[in-house]
């Protein structure tokens, strides 16, 4: 069995990475989902395709481009220089950037579908009653589409927990900083410590099962919303 010292730091790190990514993606993904659901623009499909790209791209492609982009010769270098570092790779911040790109479709897609299936009626009704934009959003739209938001949050969190390829390529496997659970499992297997790998892997299987069950229950309760 893995000791607590071996397993607790990756668990905490992975959970914080998934948490921070989910919160940021909620902020970034909602306006994108809204625009995609409502715009008549002919750029709609190309933008939707870009958002969906991480579903199809191998994580190694994202990881490779990120490794270059986060480094001293990419945009990440000058950004990192703000706090005296040379690169955003090998850092928690770098992993967050990678996870946001990697999990983007998992947040945007369910919310977009929820916005679309809501239709314009509730918004028009609210406006007829004189509601301003922000209250319309928080008190009409969000409650109306909460299943989409909930699905987006669960899927994003879970998908980030399961992230491997991107982290492998930009993380540098630093304990407590970039060594997430999936990498810890890879290390256990690589080192022949299969018993430890079993324990952590079984935990991940249980976690994945709970997540999938939760989304399916949500789906049933709110109708088909996850698209």
């Amino acid at each position: 069995m893995p000791t607590l010292d071996e397993i607790l730091p990756p668990i905490i790190l992975t959970a914080s990475l998934a948490g921070v990514t989910t919160i940021l993606l909620l902020v970034i993904g909602t306006p994108i989902a809204w625009w995609l659901a409502r715009t008549p623009s002919r750029w709609r499909e190309p933008v939707a395709a870009i958002v969906a790209l991480p579903l199809v791209l191998p994580p190694t492609v994202i990881g490779f481009y990120l490794l270059l982009a986060l480094g001293p010769s990419g945009p990440g270098g000058p950004l990192a220089a703000l706090w005296g570092a040379r690169t955003l790779a090998f850092s928690f911040e770098g992993l967050v950037i990678g996870s946001i790109l990697y999990s983007l479709p998992f947040m945007v897609q369910p919310i977009r579908v929820a916005f679309e299936s809501m239709g314009p009626d509730p918004i028009e009704a609210a406006q007829t009653l004189g509601a301003r934009r922000w209250p319309t959003f928080t008190r009409v739209i969000v409650p109306e589409t909460r299943a989409g938001f909930l699905t987006g949050v669960i899927l994003t969190f879970a998908h980030t927990i399961g992230e491997f390829g991107v982290v492998l390529m930009i993380g540098g496997n630093i304990p407590g900083k970039t060594k997430v659970l999936s990498i810890a499992i890879y290390d256990f297997v690589e080192r022949g410590e299969w018993l430890k790998a079993h324990w952590v892997s079984a935990g991940m299987v249980l976690f994945a099962f709970l997540v999938v069950t939760a989304t399916m229950l949500l789906d049933r309760r709110f109708g088909r919303l996850t698209g």
């Binding site: 270059l68 040379r86 540098g172 496997n173 290390d187 297997v189 690589e190």
Partner: protein
Amino acid sequence: MRALLAFATVASLAFVPMAHAGTVNAAVAANFTKVAEQIGADFSAATGHDVVFSFGATGALYTQITQAAPFDVFLSADDKRTGTAIADGFGVEGTEFTYAVGKVALYSPSLDLTDGAAVLRAGAFQHIAIADPVTAPYGAAGVAVIAALGLTEALTPKIVTGQNITQALQFIDSGNAEVGFVALSQVLGEPATQIWLPPQEDYPAIRQNAVLLKNGEANEAATAFLDYLRSDEAAAIIRAAGYVLE
């Protein structure tokens, strides 16, 4: 195109003893990639056998071998995993030999490493890349060199770990780490001021062993490949690539 194919077929029939042509599947440590490809090409030209290489970290390859991966020969980056392979019943006893001895190199595209030990002592860099010391012998060598200089405590916070030396080099080449420990064979063409070779006594010798796997016991091409790996032709390529031979 068809004419070309026909020509190629005739040409290969003319120059190559086709009667015993077979295929050998070789699991090869990542650091040996370029050399293996070169030796593989020569081997195919000389014998008519084909080689299919699977490159990877030694530990990962060995794990796959224990799970019935279809490899005939195993070129490890160390002298442990081949022994384990034999002990665990995956390797053929008596077929293990050292095909190359690796040299670890400190490498940096941006720092002057003429006196590499001084650069390490000064520590004027944010990240030093090494391969995973637990699974990769070159990583262990890097850690041993740092320890021999008494810098373990000072440098540990700056270490970033690649899964293997290929990834360690990736971290350096992409500029994300300023300096790192890699295999001399990976950076052989680089300017001498960018490479520092730590004294051999500062780290355990990196013996890279090969072994015939049970899977390839009956495969003539597999035995032929291991024989070729020990030939003078192969030795010349291996030496030229920055390895030494015992």
